[in-house]
Amino acid sequence: MLQKIIKPMSFFLVFSFLLLDVSVHTAKARMIDTDTVIAAQQKEAIQARVTAFLGREDARKVMEQHGVDAVEAQKRVASLSDAELAKISQAMEQLPAGGDGLGTVVGAAVLIFLVLLITDILGFTHVFSFVKPQR
C-alpha cells in the first residue's frame, strides 16, 4: 500500500518544489507600481528633512557633546530604514519649530538621542551600553 503511494507522492512533491523555486525567480521583472513611486518620494523627503535638521547649528552642538561628527551622523541617517526614518521624522514634528533657544536645544538633544538609539539597535554604533544590537 505504502509502496504504491510513495512514487506518485514523491513525484508530486518534487514537482511542487520545482514550482516554488520558479516562482521565486520570476517575481522580479515588473513594472514599478505607483505606490512604490510615492513611497520612494516620501522617503526622500523625510530623509532630506532629517538631514537638514542634523545640519542645524544646535543639533551639531548636541552631537559634538555625544562625540559624533556631522558627517558621520549624515551617514547614519542614510542607513536607516523607512520605518526608522518615519519615527525620527515624527519626533521632529513634535519639536518646537522655531521657539526659544532653550526649547530647540532640548528638542535637538531628544532627537539625536533617538538617532543614536536607533543606530545602536542596528549595531552601527555603540553609544548606549544598555542596547543589545540585533545582529
Binding site: K28, A29, R30, M31, I32, D33, T34, D35, T36, V37, I38, A40, Q41, Q42
Partner: protein
C-alpha cells in the same frame, strides 16, 4: 481659587518663610498645570464654527439623496448618500457586505474607504472644521465620524454633512433617520472632536477637493489602482496633472494606469514625461522599457532598460531583471526582411 495667593495683597502677607515656600510650590504647580488647564479650556470654549477666509457664511450641497439607515447601518447608509451624489447609483443594502463588520456591529473607516474605491470613486480623508466648511462650500458632501456619547462609553456614528449656516451657528446633516438635521455647531463640534475631526470625501476621480494637496490626492488615487479601477485612476492622475503639471508621481501613475488599460502609446508618452522630470531616476526608464518591449520596439526597450540599470538605486535588481527579460526574448521575427 489659587489666584489670590499671587496677588500683591497676598504677597505682602507672606512674610513667614513657610508661607513663602508654600506659595512657591503652589505657583510651581500652577505653572505646571497651566498648559493643561488652558488646553482643557480651549477644547471646551471654541465651540462655534471657524470662519475661514474665502468661505461664504452659509452653504448647502444640492443633490445629496437621503437614505434612512437600518439598525447599525449608518456606515453603508452614509456611503450610499455620498456615492449617489457622486453619480454611482447604489442602495445602502448593496454596500453592507463591503462596508459592515458584523463582529464589531459597525463599519470601520477603512471599510468605507475601500468600498468607495471599489465603486471607482476617490476616497479622500480630511480633518478639522476649516476643511469641512471649505469642502461643503465647494459643493462636496463630507462623511463624518462622530461619537454620540463619551470617550469611555463610545457610540460611534457616521453622518453626512451637507451644509452649514454661520448666522444660526448650525451644521446641516443627513444622519440616522433624519434628513436635513440642523445641529447646533457646539454639539456637532463636541461629538465630532472625539474622532479627531475625521471626515471623508467621496469624489468622482476628475473632481479635485477644494482643500486638495498633491501627495494625499495621489495616494488616494493610487488606492483606485489597488482595486483595479484603472479608468478612474487614469482620470484621477489626469486631474492632478492639470493642477500640478510637473508631478512626477502623477505621470508615473498615469503611465501605469494607461498600461493596464492597454493604451501603450499613451503609457509610453507618460513615462517619457516622467523621465524628463527626473532624468536620474531609473523607475520611469524601467517601466518605459516594459511598454516599448510590449509595443515590439525591442531596440528602444533595451536602451531604456540599460539606462535604468545604469542609473541604479534601491530597485536596481528589478531593473536588471527587466533588462535580462527583454534580452532573453527571441529577436523579433524577420518579417520585414522576408518581405523584401
Amino acid at each position: 481659587m489659587f489666584f489670590p495667593l499671587l496677588s500683591p495683597n497676598a504677597k505682602r502677607r507672606e512674610q513667614s518663610r513657610f508661607l513663602q515656600a508654600g506659595n512657591r510650590m503652589i505657583a510651581g504647580l500652577l505653572f505646571l498645570t497651566l498648559p493643561l488647564v488652558l488646553s482643557g479650556c480651549a477644547a471646551l470654549s471654541t465651540r462655534s464654527l471657524p470662519q475661514p477666509p474665502n468661505v461664504p457664511g452659509k452653504a448647502l450641497v444640492a443633490g445629496v439623496p437621503f437614505f434612512a439607515q437600518d439598525e447599525l447601518q449608518c456606515g453603508p447608509a452614509s456611503l450610499a448618500m455620498a456615492l449617489n451624489w457622486s453619480g454611482v447609483v447604489v442602495q445602502p443594502s448593496e454596500l453592507t457586505p463591503e462596508v459592515f463588520t458584523p463582529g464589531l456591529k459597525g463599519s470601520l473607516q477603512s471599510g468605507l474607504i475601500g468600498s468607495a474605491r471599489r465603486h471607482g470613486r476617490v476616497a479622500y480623508p480630511i480633518a478639522g472644521s476649516e476643511a469641512l466648511l471649505a469642502e461643503v462650500a465647494a459643493g462636496n458632501p463630507v462623511i463624518v465620524l462622530v461619537n454620540l456619547a463619551f470617550s469611555w462609553y463610545p457610540k460611534w456614528h457616521y453622518g453626512v454633512v451637507i451644509g452649514f449656516d454661520q448666522g444660526r451657528d448650525e451644521v446641516i446633516l443627513h444622519s440616522g433617520l433624519i434628513a436635513n438635521e440642523h445641529l447646533g455647531s457646539e454639539v456637532f463640534l463636541n461629538i465630532w472632536q472625539r474622532s479627531e475631526y475625521w471626515g471623508l470625501l467621496v469624489l468622482p476621480p476628475e473632481r479635485l477637493p477644494a482643500t486638495v494637496e498633491e501627495e494625499p490626492w495621489l495616494e488616494a488615487v493610487a488606492g483606485l489602482e489597488r482595486t483595479g479601477q484603472w479608468q478612474g485612476a487614469a482620470a484621477g492622475y489626469g486631474a492632478a496633472l492639470k493642477r500640478w503639471p510637473k508631478s512626477f508621481a502623477a505621470w508615473m501613475g498615469l503611465g501605469n494606469s494607461r498600461y493596464s488599460l492597454d493604451n501603450l502609446a499613451g503609457s509610453a508618452e507618460a513615462f517619457r514625461r516622467a523621465t524628463r522630470l527626473q532624468p536620474k531616476n531609473g523607475i520611469p526608464f524601467n517601466n518605459l522599457a516594459q511598454v516599448l518591449n510590449k509595443q515590439g520596439k525591442r531596440k528602444e526597450a533595451l536602451a531604456a532598460a540599460q539606462r535604468a540599470v545604469d542609473l541604479g538605486g534601491p530597485l536596481v535588481d528589478n531593473f536588471r531583471h527587466t533588462l535580462e527579460e527583454i534580452k532573453a526574448q527571441p529577436a523579433p521575427t524577420n518579417k520585414p526582411r522576408r518581405k523584401k
